[in-house]
Symmetry: C2
Subunit: 199 residues, 2 copies
């Protein structure tokens, strides 16, 4: 590659990487485990990637952990434009609404569109795979995305379950069923720990 | 695996993952790109993993990007006990001091020691590989760890270069030489952009 075309490519790569920095300023409903402040979506994405490394033995046979990690690294970037939509907000209806999905698709156009075309297509495709939650890799990635806030709530004394007055049935349908789909033994073990918050 | 031994293993996996959450409270000298606050080491680790995904074409032939990402996800965990030691602090002498290295080794014993033995050995080994900075994967990972604060300083108007009164020669020896070792074309391109801060 010539120095000039290399420079043009690097400009596009860093336009994206510098824009991605803004994910560190998107706040989630969940707090840190010590309850000291709300978690941001950048550090959340790091924690999930670490979850994938450490909980790889909970994935179904054939799940590619490196692809799961790649997916988790980019899964929340659209929140730079759209913000985080808490799973328990608006009585559980906002998270997967048509409006939210359309806004996220426009955000993906803009943010992944900063990249050189090959990287744009690659990262956009893996983000769409995550959103569709149909492949084994995406199903496992979604399980981790759902279980990490549960662990934070367990540590912080209830967290968003109290904020949003969540019931055991809502936890099961909005969260547990998604964890169980990709990591059934994991949800069985975690659910046991949630019981004391849902009496 | 029996349900009981699976539960014991999960306890150890989550002892580590919950402890890792504390990395989000370790503050670095560098600020976010918008200068609004100091960056923490958890979100920094996410950003570096994204750097590895997006700048893979800057790595030497044979570098395994999935291993680089794994390395970057765990590279700063010892800071939970030791804190971040800024590269330009104490006139550039604190970062690689014998005292810092000994403290980081004890931190690695404790933190990776929370994991089941197989994961402890695997993640401890990849952390040591990063620290030694001798393999192609580790050399590239180090390049990214050095270039990301440069990009933040460029965005935020000088950042830690001003805080620590860094000279062009110090930037070259403490930062540029490390970036160039793993990603020579990248440093050539980035150095050009730093010139206006070092007149």
């Amino acid at each position: 590659m010539s120095a000039k075309s290399d420079g043009t490519r690097l400009e596009a790569q860093f336009a994206f990487l510098n824009e991605a920095d803004r994910l560190k300023s998107v706040l989630r409903a969940t707090t840190l485990c010590d309850g000291s402040r709300r978690e941001n979506s950048g550090e959340h994405s790091w924690h999930l990637a670490l979850y994938a490394l450490v909980l790889a033995d909970q994935a179904a046979p054939g799940v590619n952990i490196s692809r799961v990690i790649k997916m988790l690294l980019v899964h929340d970037l659209v929140e730079i434009d759209v913000g985080d939509v808490p799973i328990h907000s608006a009585n559980g209806l906002a998270h997967a609404s048509t409006d939210t999905q359309a806004a996220e698709s426009r955000a993906a156009d803009r943010i992944f569109g900063l990249l050189p075309n090959d990287l744009r297509d690659d990262l956009r495709a893996i983000w769409e795979e995550f959103e569709a939650a149909e492949t084994p890799d995406a199903i496992f990635a979604k399980s981790l995305d759902r279980v990490q806030p549960v662990m934070a709530n367990l540590q912080s004394g209830g967290g968003t379950w109290i904020t949003y007055s969540v019931t055991a049935e809502q936890l099961e349908s909005r969260v547990g069923s998604k964890i169980a789909k990709g990591a059934p033994r994991l949800w069985e073990w975690v659910r046991e720990k949630t019981h004391r918050f849902f009496r």
